[in-house]
Point group: C2
Chain length 380, copies 2
Amino acid sequence: MSTSSSRVVDVHTHMYPPRYVELLESRDTIPLIRKFPGAEDPRYIILPAEAESLKNIGDDASSSHLPGRPVTSHYSSLKQKIHFMDTHKIDISVISLANPWLDFVASEEAGETAKTVNQEFSSMCAEYPGRLFFFATLPLTAPTDVLLSSIENVKNLKYCRGVILGTSGLGKGLDDPNLLPVFKALAANNLLIFLHPHYGLPSEVWGPRATEEYGHVLPLALGFPLETTIAVARMYLAGVFEQVPSLRMLLAHSGGTLPFLAGRIESCIVHDGHLVREGKVGPGRRTIWEILKEQVYLDAVIYSEVGLKAAIEASGVDRLMFGTDHPFFPPLGSDEQGVWESMSWNREAVEKALGVGSEGMERVMGGNAVEILRLREDEV
Amino acid sequence: MSTSSSRVVDVHTHMYPPRYVELLESRDTIPLIRKFPGAEDPRYIILPAEAESLKNIGDDASSSHLPGRPVTSHYSSLKQKIHFMDTHKIDISVISLANPWLDFVASEEAGETAKTVNQEFSSMCAEYPGRLFFFATLPLTAPTDVLLSSIENVKNLKYCRGVILGTSGLGKGLDDPNLLPVFKALAANNLLIFLHPHYGLPSEVWGPRATEEYGHVLPLALGFPLETTIAVARMYLAGVFEQVPSLRMLLAHSGGTLPFLAGRIESCIVHDGHLVREGKVGPGRRTIWEILKEQVYLDAVIYSEVGLKAAIEASGVDRLMFGTDHPFFPPLGSDEQGVWESMSWNREAVEKALGVGSEGMERVMGGNAVEILRLREDEV
């Protein structure tokens, strides 16, 4: 094992434990997992456009146009996760349930389901002590008391370092005042929020040709990061970061587009007649730049030197953390056991932006995560 | 007048000529201009949320919460434009009609309206020869033959250097195959397209608190650049840049978010099963990075060093052109005759990113525009 300072840590890497897969297999509206006769792997269907093509396809497995993505062994096999880590020289992974988490679970079941899922994550981490940690899942559809007690529950789980959260919150977004007790409880328990998109944008914005012709590119490449950007901007304008000053958030995909758009956000705020009249623009106002440098961390899942540099300049080299988004975006047309571009492109971006072997590179590739998420061996 | 290489050129600056203001004043659905008794300036109302508050407000001018933005003399007075240029040491402005251009004009009137508006722009430029050029407006709602003949018309206007275009095209977006003849005619006539947003995103993405509490920040700060990003990504995926290789586009607001998201777009393309199966991912495919460096120009209206650097790294220092977005975003609570942040923030971003007095700075502040848009005195 390499030294602490040169460890490679993947903070953006998903697992679907068995109980969650069963849940998805039992469903007939998205999100769902469906098997097709003759197809090697079941398909995971999460996007509205995929649900549309599901209606037309029946059970015809001979089609090479099955909707969604194959649920390979990478999704729920812990051995595959460790194999992926070994192949790509990743020392530690902070695993999390992927979207849409438990957003779709009925209120009365959410608490127990969350407990089961988080227990499964705990057990997986315990199988490889020191190599695996996790972000827990909250039962956001559950009654408030169940939701708050689930935070008490996960803070006592040995390998838990935070929670993964989508942008819908309790159904009205993350600027919903009813979420403040949740944010306060997470902050009080030193649980980082890993904010991750799922809902994208309304499908009409992709235009009439998108579903047939552009694959999943537009909702995944643009919808996801734009959703994250909007969610954080709404939290910022609602004053959530002021009201919960110890709140810490790790933003997926290098903050969506926040590093690039922060300047425009600031310009639109200081030039907004409504905000100025309401006294919201004046001395002492914390800018979005300050939030990015003080309460936000960014993953380094941005696939380019250009984007990564902007992220580093916006938040600081001590706030970026490497990630892969595994098991999504597997290599196509070649051996899935080989090197994944999600590793090589994101690693190359760090190398180009900061220099191979530089202190900055060691920080982004793992040093920051070890410190921020308390991943040292004596902290297990 | 400073030397050619150190000229300051503003490529993103709008004017509302008298005929267009009359058109807006005659309307009772957005976009419209309305006068309120007692209010100093009429209000220009373009966003759906503003139309909502218009319903509730009646003609009560005593309210300090009038919807929209004041139509000051900056909107249609050529003297004010020149005064703004002189105050901010801008040598040349390439003026354009602002959103939503003629998108709302009835088919049978569009051709004549465009001709009138473009003639008014020509006359304004002729009043200050060498200091003003313009991007013309196309009658996109007109029948195809009228639309195509309007391109023939504007190419012969002495001070015209391109056309300004929104993202709706003929109503189905810029990836509409019916637009190809328009793009080809523009490219054949060496007319640059200045792509500018107007429609933003569906208002539900801003959440229930936005209209009341966040002013216009979200639709303007995020909706506009996201709209541009989506429009160009759709054109790219539809192969428009391949089919019209001499097409040149200047993207408003430094490309929306394209420089930051180009890496993710590329990753989503090479990992898309549908596109791979269709043979659209393979040797010879031009990446979005190549489009950004070969067929796209970016304005420098991004209000931060972080964003501007990313834009420069994505497209190259020889493809960025300074702009102000005047007359939008006037200073609030102080003298509108003073220095506008749209000038100072964007100029500071260039200074910080490239160095005061550097060759790169001279290029971005004006040298690039002089070359790309043929603005030398002997080219008038």
